[in-house]
Symmetry: C2
């Protein structure tokens, strides 16, 4: 693994997991010492992070970790609804039925994954990730897929901000199952509607459980 990849992965993880608080200044020398690599790969990592929007270049004084405000969350979900709604509709038109039927079945069994004593809910989020990937691949549109991927980075940060109570996760799993079912049935309108519903519930939950800064 290249040193710049390692630096990028570490910093990205630290930001997403909120170990690096918004506003934190990431100086090149400081980070290069912390990560045990030289300034060059750190520079590249910081440049990639800034391109993604996780950090912002603060003219002359290094880069700082980007903040997420309540308004940002509203904006993100507004874009997310647009992109994922369209994606679900396209997936219903173009996707392979069997793939989404299997995901639907797996999502109905999701409560088993959530009730287990896995605090990070790794298996559950991996399953939801598989649904995302299946949609990405079904839509046959790399530009749309790319736009959703860029947005997801920020959404993971928001997810970490919200409470992962099992009640909400069980409900969310059912909503995801509904999306998968609608796509499997080939009904574009229904898939879009199921996505809209899920996103509105998610946003409400985030805003209800957390009162950011």
């Amino acid at each position: 693994m290249r040193a710049s990849d390692k630096a990028y992965a570490t910093l990205r993880e630290d930001i997403i997991e909120w170990r690096l608080a918004p506003g934190t200044v990431l100086a090149e020398v400081e980070q290069s010492e912390r990560l045990g690599v030289s300034r060059t790969p750190v520079r590249e990592a910081l440049s990639r992070l800034s391109a993604e929007g996780l950090t912002t270049a603060a003219g002359g004084r290094g880069v700082v970790v980007t903040d997420i405000s309540l308004d940002d969350i509203d904006e993100m979900f507004e874009l997310r609804e647009t992109l994922e709604g369209k994606a679900a509709a396209l997936a219903a038109e173009r996707g392979e039925r069997t793939v989404f039927e299997q995901l639907h079945a797996a999502l109905l069994r999701a409560p088993e994954l959530i009730s287990e004593s896995d605090p990070a809910r790794h298996e559950y989020y991996a399953l939801v990730g598989r649904l995302d990937e299946a949609i990405d691949s079904a839509i046959s549109n790399s530009y749309l897929a790319q736009a959703m991927r860029s947005l997801r980075v920020h959404l993971v940060r928001v997810r970490r901000l919200a409470a992962d109570d099992s009640q909400r996760l069980n409900a969310a799993a059912l909503e995801h199952a509904a999306i998968a079912e609608a796509i499997a049935s080939g009904n574009a309108k229904l898939a879009e509607a199921a996505t809209t519903l899920h996103l509105h519930r998610s946003l409400s939950h985030v805003k209800a459980t957390h009162s950011p800064h």
Copy 2:
């Protein structure tokens, strides 16, 4: 101006204007000599271009200029319709009426700009650019605006591919005027419809006038 900015701007322009053909390998040393800067700023420039999708890292063999296929154009317009349709609707709801009334009036006078003997149609494209900026600013959604900006880079490349005949430009100006008018009237549905119409016409024109590779 920083050397890396200069390298980035030059390479970006060369790619967009098709002076660097798709598939061209951009070696770091070669470009650093051509641009008169060292490898470090060239690396940063290439990394930024790859993040935008104008170049692709070709494992071990430098970066190559990205190609645009007919399928790519379809995909780009599919995403564009989703994003700009939503943006037009939001602008109608949230924008300031007077701004778009002025743009509407200016766009109705666009034929004057096009008939002049300006082969690059600078003034016309600047006016359309002002409409884009007005929408970006009216929607009050930086994530959506960012997604549209990333896409526009690629769209400019496509525009250069298509024939800029004045007949199409005059029609496009009227379509843009209709969008501005709909936004000014505050009618979200109408603004979205006008955008959809314009994009379909644009896509048809691109596909009709050009038979890429």
